[in-house]
Symmetry: C2
Subunit: 352 residues, 2 copies
DNA sequence: GTGCCGCGTCGAATCGATTCGACTAAGGTC
DNA sequence: GACCTTAGTCGAATCGATTCGACGCGGCAC
């Protein structure tokens, strides 16, 4: 198993009797090369088993690696359990893949070491990142690497692909208010990286770092200024179910205290809440109205079509991808904001 | 916005009044450097806004990029919809991430162009890849890049992380046979990249390229040599549902023709089949027994606990990760085969 | 016949760091 | 005091390709 010394372009050139420069031209066809020469180089390459330039060397010289970093804050399993994230990732892959780029998965934590700062990436896209990665982002930017954020806190020099989270949540809250609901509770996405569930209170909200969760809280507060609720660890049906139980089954609580409507910050959470309601013998929307967010298909026959805000996940991803491609090509890219569409499902009804 | 020429190590060295070599040593601490010198270099770096070596140059020199390619054949959205794939990916990320590697997503199609052959990867892991990528894998291997396959067809020089798909399916089939089932049908994973659903027949099976699907078919054939069924487009509940309808509701078919048991090649498919059965008014397991494969939690209250073979997805991923890390360190790595465990759920019963 | 043009090829610089061997000076040993 | 070691630093080669400017040569125009 002795490695027979991997062939280099120089070796091919020598065998073909041309200079390395010519061989290079012959290979990537970017210059005027006589057909005979090209053929000779091809032959030599074949003979030496050379199939294409070393990507490392090429990327040093060209200053491009063809790789875009996808920066996530969670473990992959969590980030990709949410179909909305998958849709966005897919949108990004669509556009950037067509432009010849691949995606590098980077899960950033706090702390000093970091794959982000010394990964050979040409650009980066942040997936709902909180401030813990800000300094690393700054380092990356200083390298001249364009950065696009999806629903990030506005950051200087970062192109943002946004969503009307706040206004959309306000609309949902207004819908509930119109239906006569006055005791309404929130079930939020994770607020920060503490990984703590818990009751929502002003102090907790102050410490929150997740931009999207905060925006959606604020939207709800515009209609219900003193709204409370619980924070979850992320967008899953299970978390929603736990939250649902926490809100609907408060031990010896009187029924009069129970919320008549719940604003869940994602459809998966909403589905979990509805399941919890079922388990407690509550009818949705008879006893409890529930709204979600996202507009993903929840694969659960017990969950009727949700009243929710439908957001264009794939399109958001594509927009991020376009921004990345534009920036890489030296073109301008502007932040864009997508809007979600209200969809009235079968999970909200007039308050009793 | 004029780029002030990104700082290089050489510039830092000059400012600090040392040679580039010393500066390099001072940075990655791999040689004897006087504390004073180190500090001077640090200061200079700070002054110039230099934060770490260019990953491209470093990777050329070192011959390592710290990147492992994850080769998938499907669009991301499809590959990651299956929780089993996510679990494996997570296992890989666990182990390789701890060793300082990141994962590059590569979706390979047939055809000449390919991100795989000129991505700066140190190693690659194949996710259930069919022969269409074989030639590209060979090119990559020739570069001296180690390759690990998860449930791949045995390929020379490729370390395999396998599963007892065939034997496990045989066990499931035997279980059904023991229960007295004689009319049994298969619902398979996708057989190849044709993207065609369809009735399973010998010709179709002959053309199939998906190793795992084939193995599981063969396992079933050991008990039911002439078993038929339908092929799906992949492991989703929806595909299972379609397949279920195709098998259980064959137009004006007599009930006597209907299978009394179905072997689904994944739990998601099984869940879909069960849902189809419900829709047709069939009781599971009363009228129909269904077995799955994988042992993932299906989040559907209508689907009881499945009779299935539980396979260790996360562990398989970790094993693949370990193999990659070992190979990168120049150590040996041997193929491993995992076994799945029979779990009797509530979806199989004695044939009427 | 001279001059100009352009195709095809080549040399050499460059991308930015790492690393090995060599060299210097200081400290320690007998 | 001669000799040896070792810490600290430096020069130069190297990784493998890309690219720019130059150059030779043949053809064409005048």
């Amino acid at each position: 198993m002795t490695e027979p010394v991997r062939a280099t372009l120089a070796a091919v050139a020598k065998l073909a009797g041309v200079s390395p420069s010519t061989a290079s031209l012959a290979f990537n066809g970017s210059g005027p090369v006589a057909e005979a020469t090209r053929e000779r180089v091809r032959q030599a390459a074949l003979e030496l088993g050379y199939d294409g330039p070393d990507p490392r060397a090429r990327s040093l010289r060209r200053g491009r690696s063809g790789i875009i970093g996808v920066v996530l804050e969670e473990a992959l399993r969590e980030a990709f359990r949410d179909p909305m994230n998958l849709a966005m990732l897919d949108g990004i892959a669509d556009v950037t893949g067509a432009a010849g780029n691949s995606l590098l998965l980077l899960t950033e934590s706090a702390g000093p070491g970091s794959a982000l700062v010394d990964a050979p990436i040409d650009a980066a896209v942040l997936f709902g990142c909180s401030p813990v990665v800000d300094d690393k982002v700054r380092i990356v930017q200083k390298r001249g690497i364009p950065v696009v954020a999806i629903e990030g806190r506005p950051l200087p020099g970062v192109v943002d692909v946004g969503l009307d989270s706040r206004e959309a949540t306000r609309a949902l809250a207004a819908h509930l208010h119109d239906l006569g609901h006055r005791r309404v509770a929130l079930v939020t996405l994770e607020l920060d990286r503490d990984r703590h569930r818990g009751v929502l209170n002003p102090a907790r909200i102050d410490r929150a770092t997740s931009f999207t969760a905060l925006e959606r809280i604020r939207g709800a507060q515009e209609v219900y200024p003193s709204i409370g609720g619980v924070a979850t660890l992320g967008s899953t049906i299970d978390e929603g179910r736990l939250a649902g139980h926490a809100l609907l089954d408060p031990g010896a609580g009187e029924a009069a205290e129970r919320p008549t409507a719940i604003i869940a910050q994602s459809d998966l959470l909403a589905a979990g809440v509805i399941r919890a309601a079922h388990e407690l013998g509550l009818d949705v929307p008879g006893d409890l109205s529930v709204v979600g967010f996202d507009g993903v298909r929840v694969d659960d026959p017990l969950v009727p079509e949700l009243t929710t805000m439908v957001q264009p996940g794939l399109e958001k991803g594509r927009a991020a991808g376009r921004a990345l491609v534009d920036l890489l090509a030296g073109r301008e890219a502007r932040s864009v904001a997508f809007t979600s569409a209200f969809r009235r499902g079968a999970t909200t009804a007039r308050a009793r």
